[in-house]
């Protein structure tokens, strides 16, 4: 395997568009190199595998200094939707799939997708709120079992 990496477990803990993509891109890049991948969605990261929400993730336009939009303006109605649409267009131009297609692509690529049990309970979610491709809802102990022997990346 590339660089001696055989397995990587990537945690996705935030639910904005720009917070979810990096973890998915890391995961896809690892599979492309033949590296085994676990993805654990925790806290607001669950948005990326919530079948009602995952098509509608938005760019954070408040509290996001890298965007160079003043917080007061970022908070106005419609700004987040507008910026999100702009970014989605750029992402599509780069041939990067939208989140729902990306998650399915990763599952088809052999990446294992998991939800964090404590977070699922925190948000009162049920199994059928989450996408079909999910391999399981894990406690931390179970997560460390599947992650054993590989690297863990928190995003």
């Amino acid at each position: 395997m590339a660089n001696g990496n055989e397995k990587v477990s990537i945690l996705i803990s935030k639910g904005s568009l720009e917070s979810v993509y990096p973890g998915l891109i890391l995961a896809n890049g690892a599979r492309a190199e033949g590296i085994a991948v676990n993805l654990l969605f925790t806290f607001f990261g669950l948005e990326a595998i919530n079948r009602r929400h995952y098509e509608h993730l938005k760019v954070a336009t408040v509290g996001n200094p890298g965007l160079h939009v003043p917080t007061l303006i970022g908070g106005l109605p419609g700004v987040s939707t507008y910026v999100t649409r702009q970014m989605e267009q750029k992402i599509a131009e780069l041939d990067i799939p939208p989140i729902p297609e990306f998650v399915t692509l990763l599952s088809d690529s052999g990446a294992k997708l998991y939800a964090c049990k404590a977070s699922v309970e925190l948000f009162d979610l049920r199994r059928d709120d989450l996408i079909e491709e999910l391999s399981g809802i894990l406690t931390m102990g179970e997560f460390y079992e599947v992650a054993a022997g590989g690297q863990i990346i928190f995003t």
């Binding site: 890049g29 599979r31 190199e33 690529s109």
Partner: protein, 104 residues
């Protein structure tokens, strides 16, 4: 660039083992590179390898996994079964084209 003897021909490879000149490629070269990666080329492998190569020769750009899954006639799931070490890079290497540069 290192000339390497593959299938009785001297082939120019880059540091990662990709052909630097796609015109030096032929089917026996593909078989030898695949074997070196533990792959015995079946008809399904050939569908993928030919798709990669034809796309590269036509456009100068190797497709990524998303396009392969959509347009090669082989699903993403099967692509990873055929090439567990990574379908994009291995099909490119076996097909005698440069390493694809895309992130996806």
């Amino acid at each position: 660039m290192t000339p390497t003897l593959i299938a009785n021909h001297f082939i120019d490879l880059d540091a990662e083992g990709y052909l630097t000149d796609p015109m030096q490629w032929e089917e026996r070269v593909a078989h030898d590179i695949a074997t070196a990666h533990g792959i015995f080329l079946s008809d399904r492998h050939w569908v993928v390898v030919r798709f990669m190569r034809e796309r590269y020769m036509a456009t100068g750009c190797a497709p990524g996994i998303r396009v392969m899954g959509r347009e090669s006639g082989v699903s993403v799931r099967e692509l990873y079964q055929l090439f567990p070490g990574g379908p994009v890079r291995l099909a490119a290497k076996i097909g005698g084209i440069p390493r694809p540069k895309g992130c996806i």
